[in-house]
């Protein structure tokens, strides 16, 4: 167990080593929030309601995306795992008494905690500046539901990325194409760019059969009170099922992949 704590602290040291990099990355996150915020503010000047969202609800959504995204969607593991398989660096892990998935999950959590710390500060500053009409969670169940879905979202994202990256076992000439594709899927289909209610009903129904909405859209919907009461439990149950499915999937691909792993690369 202690080894994971060490991995955690080393991750922090690693990310903080390059201060400029770090600052720029924070700036990028803030700019993205500002862009979306002002965009929607502009839209709401003309319309008072869009797809059932009032101005304050939409702006709350945008603000929350910053928080939720920095918790759920940021993960160094995504960038690293496929590359390590292709380059043969995976060998270093395989000869040690260390679980590769647990290792990267720990590094992800470390990164997210760091992220959260800074995002909290940024949110506060931005809130003071923009005074957006954002609200606190509707009630206690909403808050608990939000937190539960956040945790599920973290696991869903991790196992989804792992499953996608493990394709590298079969295609070591691993292209950024797949990474880009998954990125596009996730950013749009998770509700990061806009609330999924804005989609045509048919499309939304189809999306509900995928894990993506559980990353951003559903946690936020519960927070703002668009989903209430027993429906919250239903959503959480579905999210947990997705966690289970994806974790089994990633483990399955991992075990098959190891059989064909050639440990290439000097």
């Amino acid at each position: 167990m202690k080894k994971y704590f060490t991995i955690f602290t080393l991750s922090w040291q690693d990310e903080l080593t390059y201060r400029l990099n770090f600052v720029l990355w924070r700036v990028r996150n803030i700019l993205r929030l500002l862009l979306t915020y002002f965009l929607w503010s502009g839209v709401f000047l003309v319309n008072s309601k869009i797809a059932g969202y009032s101005s304050s609800q939409m702006l709350t959504y945008v603000f929350l995306v910053l928080v939720v995204q920095s918790l759920v969607l940021s993960a160094p593991s995504g960038d690293s795992m496929g590359g390590e398989i292709g380059s043969g660096d995976l060998s270093n892990y395989l000869v040690k008494p260390l679980n590769y998935l647990k290792y990267w999950f720990t590094r992800d959590i470390a990164s997210k905690c760091l992220n959260l710390g800074f995002a909290a500060g940024e949110i506060t500053l931005l809130w003071l500046w923009l005074r957006p009409p954002v609200s606190l969670p509707a009630n206690f169940p909403a808050l608990m539901g939000f937190l539960a879905l956040l945790i599920c979202g973290i696991f869903i994202y991790f196992f989804f990325e792992a499953s996608a990256r493990f394709i590298a076992f079969w295609t070591p000439e691993y292209t950024w194409g797949l990474a880009f594709l998954t990125l596009v899927f996730i950013e749009t289909l998770s509700g990061m760019i806009f609330p999924l209610d804005l989609l045509p009903a048919g499309l939304k129904t189809i999306l509900d059969f995928t894990p993506f909405p559980y990353l951003i859209y559903y946690p936020i919907s519960v927070y703002v009170g668009r989903i209430t009461g027993p429906a919250i439990f239903v959503i959480i149950t579905k999210a947990v099922i997705w966690v289970f499915i994806l974790s089994r999937l990633s483990r399955f691909i991992w075990l098959r992949g190891l059989k064909v792993y050639g440990a290439e690369g000097r």
Partner: protein, 327 residues
Amino acid sequence: MSVIEVSNLKKFYKVHQKESGLSGSLKSLFKRKYYDVKAVDGVSFDIGEGELVGFIGPNGAGKTTTLKVLSGLLYPTSGHVSVLGYTPWERKPAFQKQFSLVMGQKNQLWWDLPAMESFLLNKEIYEVPQIQFQKTLDELVELLEVKDFLKVQVRKLSLGQRMKMELIAALIHSPKILFLDEPTIGLDVVMQKKMREFIREYNTRHQATILLTSHYMDDVKQLCNRVIIIDKGKLLFDGALDEIIKKFADHKLISLVFADGVSREKLARLGEIKEYDPPKAVIQVRRADTSAVAAKILQEFSIEDLNIEEPQIEDIIREVFTGKDVA
């Protein structure tokens, strides 16, 4: 008591051929021609505790593949392997804590942090108690002379220093078995010598079993009493280094420095001329004839210097690899 037992190990790969050029790439999208690469083809050997064994062979011989199977990275196609009583590819933690694999250019240290941090991480991964960790670290740091570099970012170290750090990271848990793949590759001559001294010292002090692969004959000559020659996936020789000479080379070399008057034809009658650069020359003679020929040379020519030598190991091995029948 063998710590490593390998019995009829085979590892075959399926590789596809891609024809050159763009049309080749497009063709390979639809139809691929696969063929079998027999990386390891029926290799067997046993290694006892504390042995320092060298694997030599040309590129593609199967040496590194064998090491990878022994460390559990690859699943064999067939055959039986047992290391310290474990089946390597089951990757049991109890097994992994007892060995270490060091591959020449494959880095395990965190690039942006000082090496010390990586050592601490390995300490936790391998569950090394603090006192033992400190003792091992001190010993290794002293042997490798890297005390001043422990807190420097790994990316800022020179190749030699980095390799030393990689070694420390690999040895911090005092493994009983060490697999070294090309340990001196890319190092300058001074570093190579230091590396060899270190390996020998480590073997002596800790009775660690060490298997190393190398292209450099000097690695093998200086370190290994026992040598395993592998080529094209097959084991060609397993025994003491000087046995190779006796087994594979039936000749000796006589090198001469003439005082005066050399006749090439006259010399050629006595043996096969390998080098001829008056006043120096080297001829090759059958083992049995060596003394007789040497005596004859001294009689017939005016010689300033005469030397009888064993053929170079490198030459013998090269001839073994190219399949020349030297026996």
